[in-house]
């Protein structure tokens, strides 16, 4: 197979720009999420986020089974507000919304990844779970880091490492969906 043209180039991250980014971020505030990081690799699928054999359990119980097959003590280590960081194609697989529901049930406040499976991305926004794309954050943030996200300003701040990484801000309507707690709440308003 011949690739004729491939325009996609991974943006280079200059660690020296971190100061300006941090300062710029401090001037603004609104919708700030803060939590400890749990980091995963590439292609984490919906079955790994919540194994299908637990789908018949009541919704709040999903918290106990989240990531059970790939990170057995996740349920014991997680705390309300924690943030997931992953590499490429997070949430690959089913169109059903259980994966996003399970992360919400586990108290996860946001997911940051280099890229997401599109159905997981949609479902998360629609259920009011912030999902952020940032190649740099996915590369440099490590498990255990303390991270702060300025949702409306497009900035992820790594408090532990003293670095900042930009992410593409949501368009206004998506910010409103997230703020309303999901698509259906947004429509009701």
């Amino acid at each position: 197979m011949t690739i004729i043209r491939k325009d996609f180039v991974k943006p280079a991250f200059d660690r020296s720009v971190k100061e300006t980014l941090t300062k710029k971020g401090e001037n603004m505030s609104s919708m700030i999420l803060k939590g400890k990081i749990h980091k995963f690799g590439s292609n984490v699928n919906t079955d790994e986020i919540i194994p299908p054999r637990y789908l018949h359990s009541p919704n709040p119980e999903f918290a106990k089974y989240c990531f059970r097959d790939i990170d057995r003590d996740f349920a014991d280590r997680k705390q309300a507000g924690d943030i997931i960081v992953a590499q490429d194609n997070f949430g690959w697989g089913s169109s059903r919304e259980y994966a996003s529901m399970a992360l919400k049930a586990a108290g996860i406040s946001a997911v940051i990844a280099a890229s997401f499976s599109r159905l997981f991305f949609r479902n998360s926004i629609n259920l009011g779970l912030p999902v952020l794309e940032s190649q740099q954050a996915a590369e440099y943030i490590e498990s255990g880091d303390e991270v702060e996200i300025e949702l409306n300003n497009g900035i992820i701040r790594n408090i532990t490492k003293g670095e900042s990484y930009p992410f593409q801000k949501y368009p206004e309507f998506m910010q409103k969906i997230i703020a309303a707690g999901g698509l259906l709440n947004y429509i009701k308003k």
Partner: protein, 417 residues
């Protein structure tokens, strides 16, 4: 800069002259689909919105395909959808003998037409690109919102062009081509993007092969797959139907272009546990199998059944170590297979023939695998535990390879029969 076929359809659906990749829009779909797994939760959410009526009773399609006529635990789910369809006077409600698998039923009954925008609460909704429609999978909350508002938020996808060239080798079908492509670009090779197929080989791809190809674009992460309508499309759609034909401009903007020399593609198999884990069948050592399945939204057309029958007829008997299950995708295909004598060929060779539904593909209701068992299937996914026990294995192939393997008892090429 020109526009791709996907951009043109989406622009029309939101009343704009031009939309560009990356832009957020709110298109008005022509079809909103949900099945017996997703419709019950979409209906539950719809009711919470306090909207009395769906936006358009003729644009919503419910197909009860995952549980077929209803296992005990799903009977209540089916009832929710049935009652809602009656209450809302939904025209396109399909169940039992009128149903079959949605992604084959909708094109077959011309419910989806060229130029349509179709959204469906099922990841394989992307199949309808075969007839030149924009179609993509959504979640149940999406479906609820769209049923109320008649529109849905969406990002215009970037387009990746696949130019299919060369010649088609013997026994190579649309399934082999798409498995090969997914193997090359990976499960996120077309993430968020539109996969557009063109090139001289398209003339040799029947509508059912195009459906298979577009169906599986989601396995490469794509938002939609699409073939611009041509003479094959026009022949497939009855003259009485009104539709609009879109095609990409010569100067349209493509994010990537792949040129694929089909002369290099031989029958393919995807090994567990990823559709991208693709191999040329010839290069495999003997993999003995316990079950073969021909069916699903990816491969259960009358053409698929004809190919399988042609091979089985030559081999006469299914290998005694193999259980073979054949699932025509719709009742109409079942009836045609009966009339053509295909069902008799299958049953006298020792295969069982199921009623049309999704069943086996997701280890639901029938054909489930026990620990350590291997199945070669013409389905679309081979994730861990997809067809039963977490320690069972699913291999993906074309109907020709599946039929040949059922006779041999191990994964083998149709040429070996």
């Amino acid at each position: 800069m020109g526009q791709t076929i996907t951009e043109k359809i989406l622009a029309d659906k939101c009343g704009k002259k031009i939309v560009k990749a990356g832009e957020f829009i709110e298109p008005q779909p022509d079809i909103i689909l949900a099945n017996d797994v997703t419709a019950p939760s979409a209906i539950k959410e719809f009711k919470k919105l306090g909207v009395p009526k769906v936006f358009n009773k003729d644009k919503i399609v419910f197909v009860m395909d995952h549980f077929a006529t209803g296992a005990a635990e799903s009977a209540e789910q089916l009832k929710i959808v049935r009652e809602f369809a009656k209450e809302q006077d939904i025209f396109h409600y399909y169940e039992g003998g009128n149903a079959g698998i949605a992604h084959i039923l909708l094109p077959q009954q011309h419910i989806v037409l060229p130029g349509f925008a179709a959204i469906g609460a099922d990841s394989h909704t992307c199949a309808y690109g075969a007839v030149g429609a924009f179609s993509t999978g959504i979640g149940a909350a999406d479906a609820a919102a769209a049923m109320a508002e008649g529109k849905l938020w969406m990002k215009v996808p970037q387009s990746i062009r696949f130019i299919l060239k060369g010649t088609k080798n013997k026994w190579v079908s649309g399934k082999d081509i798409i498995l090969y492509i997914i193997g090359e670009i990976g499960v996120d090779g077309a993430l968020y993007a539109s996969m557009e197929f063109e090139g001289p080989i398209c003339k040799e791809l029947s509508m059912s092969e195009r459906l298979t190809i577009c169906n599986m674009t989601v396995e490469a992460g794509a938002k939609n797959g699409i073939f611009a309508p041509d003479s094959i499309t026009k022949k497939y759609i009855p003259r009485s139907k009104k539709y609009k034909i879109y095609s990409s401009d010569k100067n349209a903007d493509y994010y990537q272009t792949y040129e694929i020399d089909c002369s290099k593609i031989y029958p393919q198999v995807s090994l567990p546990y990823s559709p991208a884990n693709t191999r040329n069948v010839k290069t495999l050592k003997k993999i003995f199998i316990d079950q073969v399945v021909i069916g699903s939204c990816a491969n259960g057309s009358i053409e698929d059944l004809r190919i399988a029958a042609q091979i089985i007829k030559k081999g006469k008997k299914i290998n005694p170590n193999v259980r073979m299950i054949i699932i025509p995708s719709t009742p109409k295909i079942y009836a045609a297979a009966l009339k053509e004598g295909l069902i008799e060929i299958f049953t006298s060779a020792g295969a069982s023939v199921s009623e049309p539904f999704c069943g086996v593909c997701l280890g639901n209701s029938m054909g489930a695998l026990a620990s350590g068992e291997k199945c070669l299937a013409t389905t679309s996914r081979n994730f861990v535990g997809r067809m039963g026990h977490p320690k069972s294995e699913v291999y993906l192939s074309s109907p020709a390879t599946a039929a040949a393997s059922a006779i041999k008892g191990y994964i083998s090429e149709a040429d070996e029969i």
